[in-house]
Amino acid sequence: MIADDDEKWLADDIAAVKQNAFYMQRAIDSNNLKDALKFSAQMLSELRTSKLSPHKYYELYMRVFNELGTLEIFFKEETGRGCSIAELYELVQHAGNILPRLYLLCTIGSVYIKSKDVTTTDILKDLVEMCRAVQHPLRGLFLRSYLAQVTRDKLPSIGSELAGDGDAQMNALEFVLQNFTEMNKLWVRMQHQGSSREKEKREKERNELRDLVGKNLHVLSQLEGVDLGIYRDTVLPRILEQVVNCKDELAQCYLMDCIIQVFPDDFHLQTLDVLLGACPQLQPSVDIKTVLSGLMERLSNYAASSVEALPNFLQVEAFSKFNYAIGKVVEAQVDLPAAGSVTLYLFLLNFTLHVYSDRLDYVDQVLGSCVTQLAATGKLCDDKAAKQIVAFLSAPLEKYNNVVTILKLTNYPRVMEYLDHETNKAMTIIIVQSVLKNNTHIATADEVDALFELAKGLIKDFDGTIDNEIDEEDFQEEQNFVARLVHKLYSDDPEEMSKIIFTVRKHILTGGPKRLPLTIPPLVFSALKLIRRLRGGDENPFGDDASATPKRILQLLSETVEALSDVSAPDLALRLYLQCAQAANDCELETVTYEFFTKAYLLYEEEISDSKAQVTALRLIIGTLQRMRIFNVENRDILTHKATGYSARLLRKPDQCRAVYECAHLFWTDECEKLKDGERVVLCLKRAQRIADTVQKMTNASRGTSSTGSVALYVELLNKYLYFLEKGNTEVTGDTIKSLAELIRSETKKVESGAESFINSTLRYIEFQRQQDGGMSEKYEKIKMEWFE
């Protein structure tokens, strides 16, 4: 409905404008000044309407504007025909209605200025002053906009022929400034008229009109001869005064942006403190972030675009000014949400990173300011703020792509302290990912210390908060990052590396039972790597007091792994002990190795209760022990004895059997002649066979429900025999093998064993070896089986 009315009114008004324009044109064609004035005034009267929305009014205005162009030319011609322009200037003021009168006055005024009859200044002053008479916001805005439009190309500037002197130029400036001020007042006033119900609509309408006001600033920026001095001393303070005093959100926001966009970069740079000084004085509701970000973005681009500009940035201390200003803004705007202030700092940070990429101290200062701010608000809780702060903290990471640089920022961890732990964790992951992605080389213990201090969120639980809702998978993923991070820490200097390990350990041990199983292994392996490196180098390059001796590290590892056993991850602890033992063995540290084994055994005995786990653990123990070279006979005996003992005590017979025949390997080491004890090997195998026999009996007893187990065990045993036979164990006799083979044959005849293919391939293997030339066939000669006949 309303829109329809709007259309209708507009149509009516346009029709009237057209009609009067037609008559005016006719009067102009016949050089009838009086009628031309009369009809132009009538035409202009259509602009007196209050019915139209700004949008429609603009349409109407444009119609009239086009017609006024004709009138202006006519006035010009008229002055050529001897009608004095001063007379015309008076004549148009006889119009009874103010709005047509002032439009006409502006039109003739522009001709007057061009005619050079009078000083431009006087006319400009008069026009801008007279326009005060229109106090209706919409009509006033358009009138003044018209004034700005028609005088725009006629403003005196230095070097222009219209310029009387420097004064004139100053006055042109004054003119534009005053026009701007008045327009802004009108514009702001629109907001306060009419009912509060339509506030939103009005705001929208006002927004449509903002460019009318902003245009003045554009004109100012185009005004020739406005140099830095004038801008600093006159233009900017005047504009800002208006902006601040109007106390209007929309206007302040728009105009600040306008200022930033229309004036040159170096002006901004040189007047930063003035411009920024205005910011805290703006209304609290003004979105100051946008304003400042616009400014900083512009200056960043400016800095990026020209190298020569950079010294200026330093000279004017742009950074500290921004920093100070933002502090002030935050201080002034009490209600500013945390997200807002963080965003501000984010922009500052981005700016700093762009312009002063080499000034870490600045970056740190920004962080510091942010901390101060956060200290006032406390921990961040809302999502928006958290998001902003993550962006804030990520910015330097992205810029430098190097965590080591970040670690130099003392305030960085302090900011992180204000994050809630969700965010903190997220942030930590970002940091860690950065390390991983960029292959950042973190090579000193101090850095590592700082990094882990930073990554606390991942490494340990937060005080008193135990949330059970953590998704297990996520948690694993997070800890995975930590583990990967540990592997990234590397220093070429073993001394330093060991320090790193000490540091990492210190942090990791705080992780609590859930984390330790996931974080300790990488640490251990990293340490073992170091040990291997040390071993590879000179015996001990550091002298005895150095910390980086394998012994010390192993000592440390021993303590570290012990932590694992406390958190009920005995399997893992056991594996790690064995790994350490191996390393110790390689370093020829017998007692240490022994100790590790003792610990492993202890774990096995006390902690590992699950039978399957026992099997696995035992295998590992046997495997590791088999590789040990440094033990003296006594120690070795103790250990092997124990291992064999464990084997025999396994819960399930097949497991026992297997473990026992694995134990046979403990008595046979290829490389070392003195560790070849054929007798005991065979003893073990025999014992295994006996267990297999028991299994077989049990199977037979419960026939029907059969398991394939025992035959397979026999075949496995057969293979073991073959292995040792090949290795040259003289205790392994053809008879033993033969009888075993017989046994297998008879068993397979009795029952479908399910192990046929295993048997067959074993047999094929024997056959194959027999056919071979050289020593191997000789060894196999001993085996004569009817099977093959």
Partner: protein, 302 residues
């Protein structure tokens, strides 16, 4: 037909010419019937001289008891129409009784005539100057011819001419301060001034400045006052806020104004007022009227 017409025609044609008639400025005067005619312009202390031609119609002779010319200053009240009050009356005898056979010309001169009042055409009163030529005849009735002329008197600019400055208002509603640069304006003058809004609590729609003429006629109980608005000049569009100052610039030349006349021959007065009117959105009017004095300044240029 022609003959018959001729019988009722006056016996002669009388015409009056002024000595410097060709060069003298003519000004438009509105006559009773609404017609506008141009009349010569004089001012006080001028000598009014010229010639009177008496032209008998063909073949006729005019017998008369004497010819005279009178200069009359008259005030006519409209409620008493047709009854003139002569405040000035000068007579020149032009001829002794006799007969006129052919065109005869009489020069005449009223030297340095005192004409204190200006010609004025008001709503209820008219002041006019006229030359009256009478050819006196006994039986056929006298032949009379009139020639109007206009008198305007110029005065020097007043030595004291204070501005008009005043603060007015309605308590807690509207307070304004207005200023007009002078209290006495000549007829082609410009009123300059400003209106300063000290307090605005009403929604003003617009503000006009009216020029009003107050013509009072008669005296005592019979005084009759007529006020007319000669000009309505919009000063402001829209609602100002506190602290706004609105400029005033009104050119008086387009309006049909006369000088202020005070108690002309005890018959009438003409006064002028500036009426500042503020209209609010409910079309209520708030106004303040101030008298100004208008005077006629010698136009230098013309």
């Amino acid at each position: 037909m022609n003959f018959l017409l001729g019988a009722f025609k006056p016996a002669c044609n009388i015409s009056i010419t002024f000595t410097d008639g060709k060069n003298r400025k003519q000004v438009p005067i509105k006559k009773d019937n609404g017609q506008i005619v141009m009349n010569p312009l004089f001012q006080s202390q001028e000598t009014i001289a010229g010639k009177i031609h008496i032209d008998p119609y063909q073949g006729k002779k005019v017998e008369h008891n004497g010819v005279k010319v009178e200069l009359l200053g008259q005030i006519e009240m409209y409620f008493d129409r047709g009854n003139f009050y002569d405040f000035t009356s000068l007579v020149r005898e032009l001829d002794v009784p006799g007969e006129i056979y052919e065109r005869k010309t009489y020069p005449f001169e009223f030297s340095s005539v005192e004409m204190p009042y200006e010609t004025y055409n008001g709503v209820n009163v008219r002041l006019k100057y006229v030359l009256k030529v009478t050819v006196t005849r006994g039986y056929a009735g006298s032949i009379v011819e009139y020639q109007d002329f206009v008198v305007r008197n110029y005065v020097p600019p007043p030595p004291i001419n204070n501005s008009i400055k005043m603060e007015v208002g309605i308590e807690d509603c509207l307070h304004i301060e207005f200023e007009y640069n002078k209290s006495k304006y000549h007829l082609k003058d410009v009123i300059l001034g400003k209106i300063y809004f000290l307090l605005v609590r009403i929604k003003i729609k617009n503000m006009d400045l009216e020029i009003r003429r107050r013509e009072s006629t008669g005296a005592g109980a019979n005084t009759h006052v007529e006020t007319e608005t000669l000009a309505k000049f919009e000063l402001m569009d829209g609602a100002p806020v506190r602290g706004e100052s609105i400029p005033v610039r009104v050119f008086l030349s387009p309006y049909d104004l006369t000088p202020t006349h005070t108690n002309i021959n005890n018959k009438f007065s003409v006064k002028y007022y500036l009426n500042l009117v503020l209209v609010d959105e409910e079309d209520r009017r708030y106004f303040k009227q101030q008298e100004i004095t208008l005077y006629r300044l010698k136009e230098e240029a013309s």
